[in-house]
Amino acid sequence: MDRRAETPTASTLVLDVGDWPGHLAGQHVDVRLTAEDGYQASRSYSLAAPADGDRVQITVQRLLNGEVSPFLVDELATGAVVEVRGPFGGWFVWRTEDRGPILLVAGGSGIVPLMAMIRTRAGVSRAPFRLVCSVRTPEDRLYAAELRRRVADDGGLDVVWVHTRTAPAGDPRRVGRIRADDLVSHGWPPDFEPTCYVCGPTGFVETASNLLLATGHDPRRIRTERFGGA
């Protein structure tokens, strides 16, 4: 296990998994920790990038009062061994032969499986991608520098950050939770028939998918992934 900090509260763990079979963008792994007394806790984490041989990446957001995430983000020693199973999931996935257009909508660390799609796309697909990512403050942006570079280099990728608490100076958008006009201005018109991937905390996913439905998107082309938290 190797670790690098992404934001003050999130880290990417690089895991060496023997005989990794490869995976699709959007799939996840289950990480199981076992305490000295035998107590076990298992959590699902989205894979953040295509596999590099047997090396896979997950990005873990430290949850307040979390049972597993603070340990993974702060305590797990480099070189430690953890139990990883996967890849899992066949619904919230993007395949390189899917042409798009694609709208990605993320709340906080819900960007992780969507980043796997963006990284997988580079160089192998020209499907037009748009990402709308909601964060509390600019400091909470995951992968910000890499996304800036990819918008310039990858072609056909647009990224917009939506701030719920504090926006950077000069941001014309009024601070606040995601709104219909965010998705109308920065997404695709429904008649382009985009596939929409929405990932984040349960409340965020409900809000964003309802906004997509209300603005005319086909429910059969909205795929969602929810995780706990506010």
Partner: protein, 89 residues
């Protein structure tokens, strides 16, 4: 109360039981008749077990509990489960 997760998180545990990729399948709620992709069910858990509820009527469609020596799977809230014929994953 908001669900903790959705059906995507069932993929790992159910892979111990089924060879097909169940979360891409479609389940019909025994209570209200609504058909949902398993990945879109509202899932509560993980302790003491996972409970997947219908997004329409909130009735429990699947319960999965693990004990040290067994896995308990209750599908009595489903009247039908349609699974993809050849799971590629």
């Amino acid at each position: 109360m908001d669900a903790t997760y959705d059906g995507n998180t069932l993929a790992g545990p159910l892979s111990e039981v089924f060879t097909a990729e169940v979360t891409s399948g479609v389940a019909r709620c025994r209570s209200c008749g609504r058909s949902s992709v398993v990945a879109e069910l509202a899932v509560y858990g993980p302790d003491p077990g996972l409970v997947a509820r219908c997004p329409g009527c909130a009735e429990a469609m699947l319960r999965l509990v693990r004990t040290p020596d067994a896995m308990w799977l209750d599908l009595s809230g489903m009247s039908l489960l349609r699974l993809p014929a050849s799971a590629s994953e």
